[in-house]
């Protein structure tokens, strides 16, 4: 179970290779990559700056990964989240989950993303030619998280 919060970019190929090669009992690797989009709500984005709460972020992400591990039969999880100033097409987040079979890995990976979006202390500020604005939380993210309560 690895959690990294960093300003530097990450190499998806290296990260996924070391995840899948860790154990020959791994049959499935599901991953999610989030990247900065060029447009949000009609405005062209120049930069996206991620602020976070360092003392809480690591703990919150580890708690989410642990929760996923208790819910599904996964072998390992990886969460890498960037902070600082990013631009369109930059990678923001990588979540990867390995398991023996695919169903568990798909569910755990989506669960981690849904919880990360609603529980991990990150805040995005966009800069466009119209100025800066804090990104608003989306109701759809709360709904996505609640699906897992059932």
């Amino acid at each position: 179970m690895t959690v990294r919060v960093q300003t530097e970019d990450f190499d998806i190929g290296c990260e996924l290779a070391s995840m899948r090669l860790a154990q020959p009992s791994i049959g499935a690797l599901v991953s999610f990559v989030g990247q900065v989009r060029d447009i949000n709500g009609g405005d062209a984005i120049n930069t996206l700056t991620l602020e976070h709460y360092p003392e809480m972020t690591q703990k919150a992400l580890e708690a989410i990964a642990l929760d996923a591990k208790t819910r599904w039969d996964v072998i390992d999880t990886l969460i890498i989240h960037r902070v600082g100033m990013l631009k369109p097409l930059d990678q923001i987040v990588l979540v990867a989950v390995t398991s023996a079979h695919r169903g568990e890995a798909f569910k755990a990976c989506e669960f981690i993303m849904d919880y990360l979006k609603t529980s991990a202390p990150f805040w995005k500020k966009e800069a466009s030619n119209q100025g800066e604005r804090w990104v608003e939380a989306k109701v759809s993210d709360d709904e996505a998280k609640r699906r897992w309560d059932k």
Partner: protein, 85 residues
């Protein structure tokens, strides 16, 4: 009762600093009570906590709701709904 209060994102910009140490009266025992107490400082604070925009709280790095109890030495953070990922 001494506590530490942290502000993030929009809230940090509104108060124009990120952290402060506060010596609370002993009757301030919950997050709600702390919000009301801070609101009396003036307009900036009243606007932050008037409920028009959601303010989330964490105590000692764990998300809590407004009924959560505050204890001496706690680190209490206020911030908008999170938008990572």
């Amino acid at each position: 009762m001494k506590i530490k209060v942290l502000y993030f994102a929009r809230l940090k910009e509104a108060v124009n600093y990120s952290t402060e140490d506060i010596d609370l009266p002993s009757d301030i025992k919950t997050v709600t009570a702390l919000k009301n107490y801070l609101s009396k400082r003036g307009e900036i604070w009243a606007n932050l906590f008037n409920g028009k925009q959601v303010v989330r709280a964490a105590i000692n790095h764990v998300l809590v709701d407004d009924l959560a109890a505050i204890h001496a030495g706690d680190e209490i953070a206020f911030f908008p709904p999170v938008t990572g990922g």
